[in-house]
Amino acid sequence: MNTLRLLAVLAGGALFGFGLAWSTMIQPEVVLGFLQFDDFGLLLVLGGAVLVTLCAYLLIPKLMNKPLLGKEFHKHPNTFSKNTIVGSALFGVGWGLAGVCPGPVFAGIGAGNWMLLISGAAMFLGAYAHGRYVSR
């Protein structure tokens, strides 16, 4: 992976993180407020993000043969299995308990929400437990 590609990923990640902070998704209380039906703003965040990304994923490969700094557009097909549902159900319980998911953990720590270090460390441990679990 060359440096320019990594810088592009860094810049895109920064846009993403800025958006997460602006939309207050880095405050677990706001996410919990959505899950408790007090404020439906999260749907605007997800809807806005999907709208832009949908256009990009559909149009860019039609307009260009390959990305500006790469050889191919990845498709990243998601396979469906029991794990998709069981894993998502567990993920949802965790999300509903903590009020943060992986993206806002990093963006939130960057914005000085230090308490999210707890969730970030726990996510690392959860991913490690998953690796152990599938290797058993």
């Binding site: 706001v30 899950l35 860019i60 992986p102 963006a107």
Partner: protein, 157 residues
């Protein structure tokens, strides 16, 4: 009517969402990569663990850009803090045990499901993949139930 559903306004949610989409789209335009967040946790373990699962090719190949992506997310949060955030650090009053237990479950579950709110929610839905739609419906349902049950037994917040 709208104030009832959006008591804190709508514009900052929309603006943030559009920027999030712009970030994912920019990465795709430049590199062709589909940038979910949660695989970072597994790929990062390849730096520390000798467990064969963490040493698989897809993690070794993607761990560099996934690290750059996670750093970018933090950098974006920091840039917000310095600009629109007026230097006021975000904070939370959510109790530490919720952040800890919820984080661990979310980390495990996202890896088992092959994606989280960004991988399945944003990238998966945007590439019109029905497994991702099933994932999103499932985690929204269990998250809503969990948050409301925890609220109803009097844990605040």
């Amino acid at each position: 009517m709208l104030e009832q559903f959006f008591p804190n306004g709508m514009l900052h949610y929309l603006a943030g969402g559009l920027l999030i989409g712009a970030g994912v789209s920019f990465i795709f335009l430049m590199t062709g990569l589909v940038s979910g967040t949660s695989t970072f946790f597994s790929s990062a373990w390849s730096y520390f663990s000798t467990l064969p699962f963490f040493r698989q090719k897809s993690f070794l190949e993607s761990r560099q850009w996934r690290l750059a992506f996670a750093l970018g997310l933090a950098l974006g949060g920091f840039a917000f803090l310095l600009t629109l955030g007026n230097g006021q650090a975000a904070s939370t009053g959510v109790q530490w045990w919720r952040l800890l237990a919820g984080g661990a479950l979310a980390g495990f579950g996202a890896r088992m499901a092959g994606g989280c709110t960004s991988g399945h929610g944003i990238c998966g839905l945007s590439s019109l993949q029905w497994p991702s739609l099933a994932a999103v419906i499932t985690f929204l349902a269990t998250a809503i139930i969990t948050a409301q049950v925890v609220q109803s037994i009097g844990v605040l917040p």
